[in-house]
């Protein structure tokens, strides 16, 4: 078992083919999206490293080249999702450019642009080693190199220098800009694009200027015009297919369309999402697409109307816990600035984004803007509580607690109550009471208080409108509360104040007891579930404690540095992550016993920041005991690098598993797993070859289904052959004891024979034991006399 990286991010630029499909690199895959339905149509898999570039084959627009850090270039038919060719280059490739007439240009690791000759041989896997250097010292950013009109030249920018190389004349021209002028402009280049029809190069600069270069085949008499709209660095540039417009984008997340004829005229499409990292135009010029740093692709009609959005898991700062929306089972976390995203892990797409802050986000660095810091769902998912804050760095903190109610009609959350400055200081933790009778929220904050909020009908105003108000304010010796947690029935509330855990009755708000287990302040607090609900778990920097609340005493404790503790809501299991020498170890245990159910050392590198149990749609019936804890839920966790990981079991071998051929998963696991882990894994049965054959044979040549069915079932029984042998051996041993065992043995064999035959033809009517004996005797009897009789 291994955590597998979810390929949620469209990391690389998107490219159009016609207007129907959009291709984009995502991890080691190339995804093909439909531009009309936003659905992922195909996944081109095969690369073993990060895919770094995707580009349409200029000679055949149904094919696409992809390059990867694994040192191969692959040619695909993306309509059917078939791999056509593999060109092995040998070096990690960072970007790829093509030219109609000749070979492919790639920039390999040592920052060189080389022309790679792709040999035309029928084999699928070809070594492509014939290459010639074109430019050296180019930037690793794919946007800083572009092919010119008809592939006659290539333009590349690096630092403050623009280099243009003409292929025919084999001549290089270099143009440098001064570091700064009097006004302190930052002249460094950021990106480049070439006009498709004219000899015009557009370059983007760090200070937001765009320069249009002409006459660049002259050392001195070159000329450029400067346009300035972007207030920050130009992220990307792209000319439209006909060259009528120049598109540019940057941090402002505004798509700017410049008119090439009328340089002063420009059109804008604002509020597209995160910073624009790449723009591309469909070959017929009808569609533009913008890729954003927050893992989003917008598909825009050329009249600057947004036509489709492909939104992955929004990458950004994550302050909230990972949560599962009980209704949609979507993963909920920080999304766009000031939003919560609801991300369906099953469908791998964003369901919707809830605007919490409800203020325009300004795309500028260094501004202090409202951010969603905490969020919590009530048990049924009817209520959502959020905390937004501003001014964390400065002393004047502004925060507000918002409570959202789910509106069945509108199918979304609506704001019910806003409590500004709910606490004097930052709200650290909050949780809803799981009890069904009352809707209750507890917040703990740095102002040494915890507050209980209750939904109540306001008698003064309309009766129907229920709003939230503070019910109780609790504190303990002026200590700072850190965590709070309700017991599974909602009757007890545990609040940790530094080293002390206080238990409160949620009915009377009476301090029932305190638990203290020094040294060190309590980090995490968590009640056991289901049968273990009498246990309360707590962690400090050094220990993991388990208290029994019935006896109010420590049940057990173990010295370990737990950085994250979560309980599975559907089982008794509790997962603990512990950082150990740079790697995080995973432990699964039940509070009732201090022995872990499952341990995985070094589940990932770095510290695990967040984790969540996501309930499965259908519980699995895993035969492997080690993974039974994952039967009802999946575990997702986030590391420091904000890489979402999924702890996935190798699912039980079901016929569907074989039929659907989840070989990808197996392959991945093979690649990812170390030697030791490979041994752990349950090996899938070998019978899949027969199934494969079965599935690949055309239907009209296949025998009747009734015939096949039994064969298929037979093939499933193969796994039982080992077990089947065991009783046979037992029988053998027993036979030695008995005298007439030989006969028995034969009967057994016969029986088996019959059974195997049975699958091919009609089984003969079964005989009783006496009849069998009789039959055998008949067989053993010498019938030679009959022949003699016949011959005589």
């Amino acid at each position: 078992m291994l955590p597998s990286k979810q390929r949620l991010f469209q990391e690389r630029p998107a490219y159009f083919s016609k207007t129907m499909f959009l291709l984009c690199a995502s991890g080691d895959l190339v995804k093909v999206f439909s531009t009309s339905t936003e659905e992922c149509v195909h996944v081109l898999e095969g690369h073993t490293g990060q895919v770094t570039g995707v580009i349409l084959n200029p000679t055949n627009h149904l094919q696409v080249y992809s390059c990867s850090a694994d040192g191969t270039i692959r040619l695909w038919d993306f309509i059917d999702g078939i791999l056509i060719k593999i060109f092995v280059c040998g070096w990690p490739i960072f970007s790829i450019y093509t030219q109609v007439s000749k070979s492919v240009f790639v920039s390999p690791e040592n920052f060189q642009l080389v022309a790679l000759h792709l040999p035309k041989v029928p084999e699928q896997e070809v070594e492509a080693r014939e290459m010639s250097a074109v430019l050296c010292n180019i930037s690793s950013n794919p946007g800083s190199t572009a092919m010119g009109r008809g592939g006659e030249y290539v333009a590349s920018v690096m630092g403050r220098q623009l280099t243009v190389y003409f292929f025919k004349k084999l001549k290089t021209y270099r143009f440098s800009l001064k570091a700064t002028d009097k006004k302190g402009a930052k002249n460094a280049f950021t990106c480049v694009a070439c006009h498709p029809k004219d000899d015009c190069i557009a370059t983007g600069h760090e200070d937001g200027k765009i320069r249009l270069w002409r006459n660049f085949n002259q050392k001195k008499e070159y000329t450029y015009s400067t346009q300035h709209w972007h207030h920050d660095a130009v992220g990307t540039l792209c000319f439209t297919t006909e060259g009528m417009h120049l598109l540019s984008g940057g941090v402002e997340s505004v798509l700017v369309q410049w008119h090439c004829e009328e340089v002063n005229k420009k059109d804008f499409l604002p509020r597209l999402g995160g910073a624009i990292s790449h723009i591309c135009v469909s070959p017929d010029g009808q569609m533009y697409s913008t890729s954003h740093l927050d893992n989003k692709i917008n598909i825009i009609h050329c009249s600057l109307k947004l036509s489709a959005v492909i939104q992955g898991l929004v990458k950004g700062n994550i302050w909230t816990d990972l949560m599962i929306d009980p209704r949609t089972r979507a993963l909920v976390m920080n999304g766009r600035p000031g939003h919560l995203q609801f991300y369906s892990l099953q469908q791998d797409k964003q369901l919707y984004s809830l605007d919490i802050v409800q203020q325009e986000y300004i795309n500028q660095e260094g501004l202090d803007q409202f951010e969603v810091m905490r969020a919590a769902f009530s048990v049924g998912g009817t209520w959502l509580a959020t905390v937004e804050e501003r001014g964390r760095c400065t002393s004047d903190l502004e925060s507000s607690l918002k409570l959202w109610v789910y509106n069945e009609k509108a199918q979304s959350f609506e704001l019910n109550t806003t409590i500004t400055a709910a606490h004097q200081d930052r709200i650290m933790h909050m949780c809803f009471s799981p009890s069904t009778e009352t809707t209750m929220l507890v917040t703990t904050a740095w102002d040494n208080q915890f507050k209980v909020w209750l939904l109540g009908l306001d008698s003064d105003t309309q009766k129907e409108h229920a709003s939230w108000s503070c019910d109780y304010v609790g504190s303990y010796h002026g200590l700072q509360p850190t965590n709070c947690c309700f017991s599974s029935d909602g009757s007890l509330l545990a609040v940790s104040f530094k080293e002390v855990v206080t238990i409160w009755s949620s009915d009377t708000w009476e301090l029932l007891t305190t638990l203290c287990q020094p040294p060190g302040p309590i980090r995490e607090l968590c009640f056991g579930r289901l049968s273990c609900s009498k246990y309360l778990l707590g962690t400090t920097a050094k220990n993991l404690f388990c208290w029994n609340l019935l006896t109010c005493s420590l049940e057990w404790s173990t010295p370990m540095d737990v950085c994250l503790l979560r309980s599975d809501p559907l089982s008794e299991n509790v997962v603990a992550f512990s950082l150990h020498s740079g790697n995080t170890d995973l432990f699964v245990f039940r509070p009732s016993e201090p022995r872990p159910l499952f341990t995985q050392k070094a589940v990932c590198g770095g510290k695990v920041q967040r984790c969540v149990f996501s309930p499965r749609e259908e519980p699995l019936d895993s035969c492997d005991e080690r993974f039974q804890w994952l039967n009802r839920s999946r575990l997702y966790f986030l590391t420091e690098l904000m890489v979402p990981l999924l702890v996935d079991d190798s699912v039980a071998v079901t016929p569907f598993y074989l039929l659907l051929g989840k070989h990808r998963q197996q392959q991945e696991e093979k690649q990812n797993s170390g030697v030791s882990q490979a041994a752990d894994r349950v090996q899938p049965p070998q019978a899949s070859v027969a199934i494969k054959e079965l599935l690949h044979t055309p239907a009209h040549v296949l025998p009747a289904a009734s015939f096949l069915c039994s064969m298929f079932v037979n093939s499933l029984l193969i796994s039982n052959t080992g077990k089947g042998k065991e009783p046979a051996e037992q029988v053998e041993e027993s036979e030695k004891e008995e005298d007439d065992s030989e006969e028995e043995m034969e009967t057994h064999d016969y029986e088996q024979e019959v059974r195997t035959q049975g699958s091919v033809e009609e089984a003969p009517p079964l005989l009783s034991k006496a009849e069998e004996k009789e039959l055998r005797r008949v067989r053993k009897t010498d019938f030679s006399w009959v022949t003699n009789l016949a011959s005589s």
Partner: protein, 647 residues
């Protein structure tokens, strides 16, 4: 170098007037500048854009346009007159009325045979250019509305006229309008306003380029009368256009104060099809750019903000140096202040009056030069038409002025006035050099623009705009010698009080010292020539306008330009190319012994604002007349409103 008491003078409210027109004479590389007060200035492009001549204007002169015909310069204005200038004597040669109401434009054909003027009454009048005069030839077909702009086709057979809402093409043979191009009005509120075609250019390939008040630069095909391309350059007006000699580059001046360059480029490299493409934008002006010129290696522009800006086109210049520097000429390259050293009086010369402590008024003609005698007892000034001399009595704050009558007839007007050091002599120069009190005169070809008298009253040096420097012996009343002609004009000169060496500063920042008695360059001057000057000195873009000497230390020479004043110590070694030029601060931090090794002849001082005049008085105090540019800008009318980012 010593310390001085500094009199900082800021009450000289010198206000230059706005530039209205520019014209380039390519053969002699002269640029004529017309200002709104009627002044015409001649700059020499070859000589670091040195202001060679100034022809003072008049009160009512509203010059609208300038035109060169060969070496002759013509101007026309809203007073309806055409003026030809006498460039030798720096004055108007003659004036003729065009009888067509106010004149908006004047232009000559390439052949130099005709002048065309565009008048308020809708006529284009052709004038034939004769040897000494111009002669009205005929009117082209009269149109409704005024003729704002004119341009000849290089062949001279056609002329294009920009009017209100329309452009007409005339055949000069028949005088008939052959094409009529309608110009779109602006959008929005400007829809109701007529579109003024401020400027037109007729190219040899038949393309007409127009700039109009809707902010558009339009390219037309004159044969078919169709619009080829339209560029929206600004939201405001496009005021002026200028095409380069080879017709590959076009400069456009706008109301926003921007100069936009268009270039005639092939869209696909190596192919013949070319298009006009907007390339660079220069933002050197704060106000309307009223005139722009494409001069081979630079774009020259001037406008309401009174600056004369030379923006070099770096792609046409091979090496870094004088020509590649951006020039911004704000102050005249001559003295407007004269100082009575002994009496401690300052005389400020305004266009309309002189100021000496108190306001002193003149008539309607502009003053071209003025001087106050060192003893403070005399003031002399000259307008284009007359010369005046006043006796001045200053007693206990009571100033009385008595006009000296009965001046000799020969003193009709002057270009330069100079008093001798003992105030016994007045030297007046036009083309003739006149010594007055006692009077005598001497002739020369070109107008004299600088005079310098020696302290002992024996010598007088004069420099004219042909770069010639003559030295006269005043005792013998005849020319003494001629200084070898330097390639660059003299911007300031003075005769040393003790050694009688003539110290000259040229427009290209070269320094020469000429021994009057020995009739040869001094050793120091030869050393400067051999050694070469520091590149930082040579790269300064304003000429030195005054030279004085320190009476206490004869080795010290005090110079100043617009941004700095400098004391040259002739006893110290010249700076090396590698050595630090502005080294005062470093020297101060060094111990006494080290200082000697590192110090060099040039002591620069930049602590003052823009300088008009620096003079060292008898009592070792320094008089500094400052005119901060901020004060000038503050007096300008408000520029067009522009949306600035983040405001």
């Amino acid at each position: 170098m010593g310390e001085f008491n500094v009199h900082r003078v800021r009450f000289f409210d010198y206000m230059p007037s706005a530039i209205r027109a520019l014209a380039f004479q390519p053969q002699r590389e002269r640029i004529a500048v017309a200002r709104t007060d009627g002044t015409v200035e001649i700059f020499n492009r070859a000589d670091c854009f040195f202001q060679e001549k100034v022809i003072p204007g008049r009160q009512q002169a509203a010059t609208e346009a300038l035109a060169w015909v060969g070496d002759r310069l013509f101007s026309a204005g809203l007073n309806g007159e055409i003026i030809e200038y006498d460039l030798d004597n720096n004055k108007t040669k003659y004036t003729i009325d065009a009888y067509g109401g106010p004149i908006w434009s004047i232009t000559s054909n390439k052949q130099g045979t005709h002048l065309a003027v565009g008048c308020e009454d809708g006529t284009v009048k052709l004038f034939e250019v004769h040897e000494d005069r111009i002669q009205f030839e005929r009117n082209l077909a009269k149109q409704k509305g005024r003729i704002i702009s004119l341009s000849w086709h290089p062949s001279g057979s056609k002329i294009v006229a920009g009017m209100m809402d329309v452009i007409h093409i005339f055949d000069t043979e028949t005088g008939q309008s052959v094409q009529r191009l309608l110009v779109d009005r602006g959008v929005g509120t400007s829809r109701s306003q007529e579109c003024v075609v401020w400027s037109v250019v007729y190219l040899s390939d038949g393309t007409i380029i127009s700039g109009d008040s809707a902010g558009k630069v339009k390219m037309w095909d004159s044969r078919t009368g169709t619009l080829i391309k339209s560029h929206q350059v600004t939201k405001w007006d496009v005021l002026t256009l200028s095409v380069s000699q080879d017709e590959t580059s076009l400069a456009v001046g706008t109301s926003e104060g921007h100069v936009v360059q268009f270039q005639f480029l092939s869209m696909v490299l190596g192919q013949e099809d070319k298009e006009w493409v907007r390339t660079r934008t220069f933002k050197n002006h704060t106000h309307d750019v009223r005139a722009v010129l494409e001069v081979n290696t630079a774009i020259v522009s001037g406008g309401m903000d009174t600056q004369f800006v030379v923006r070099p086109l770096l792609d046409k210049i091979d090496e870094r140096g004088q020509a590649s520097a951006l020039r911004n000429i704000q102050f005249p390259h001559r003295r407007l202040v004269s100082c009575a050293r002994k009496a401690g009086l300052l005389l400020f010369q305004y266009p309309g009056h002189l100021e000496l402590w108190r306001y002193y008024s003149n008539g309607e003609e502009h003053i071209c030069c003025s001087a106050v005698s060192p003893c403070g007892g005399w003031i002399a000034y000259s307008t284009v038409a007359s010369f005046r001399l006043y006796r001045l009595h200053c007693e206990n704050n009571n100033v009385s002025i008595i006009k000296v009558s009965k001046l000799p007839k020969v003193l009709s007007s002057a270009n330069q006035i100079c008093f001798s050091s003992d105030s016994s002599h007045l030297f007046v120069a036009s083309t003739l050099l006149i010594f007055y009190l006692p009077s005598s005169s001497q002739g020369s070809g070109q107008a004299i623009n600088l005079l310098a008298a020696s302290e002992d009253g024996k010598w007088l040096a004069s420099a004219n705009s042909d770069h010639e420097v003559q030295i006269y012996n005043l005792n013998k009343m005849k020319p003494h010698c001629t200084v070898p002609v330097h390639s660059s004009g003299v911007s300031a000169m003075a005769i040393h009080p003790t050694t009688n060496n003539l110290f000259m500063v040229h427009a290209d920042q070269q320094l020469t010292e000429y021994s009057v008695e020995k009739k040869q360059y001094t050793d120091w001057s030869r050393q400067v020539q051999r050694h070469g000057l520091h590149s930082l000195w040579l790269e300064r873009d304003t000429p030195v306008t005054n030279v004085t000497f320190n009476p206490k230390n004869p080795a010290h020479i005090v110079l100043h330009d617009m941004y700095m004043f400098c004391i040259i110590d002739q006893t110290l070694p010249l700076p090396d190319q590698r050595s630090q030029f502005y080294n005062q601060l470093t020297l101060r931090s060094m111990p006494e012994k080290e200082r000697k090794k590192h110090s060099h002849a040039f002591k620069m001082c930049k602590i003052f604002k823009e300088l008009l005049f620096v003079e060292l008085m008898e009592d070792q105090s320094l008089v500094v007349v400052e005119r901060p540019l901020m004060d000038i800008t503050a007096q300008l009318p408000a520029p067009v409103r522009q949306k600035k980012f983040a405001t």
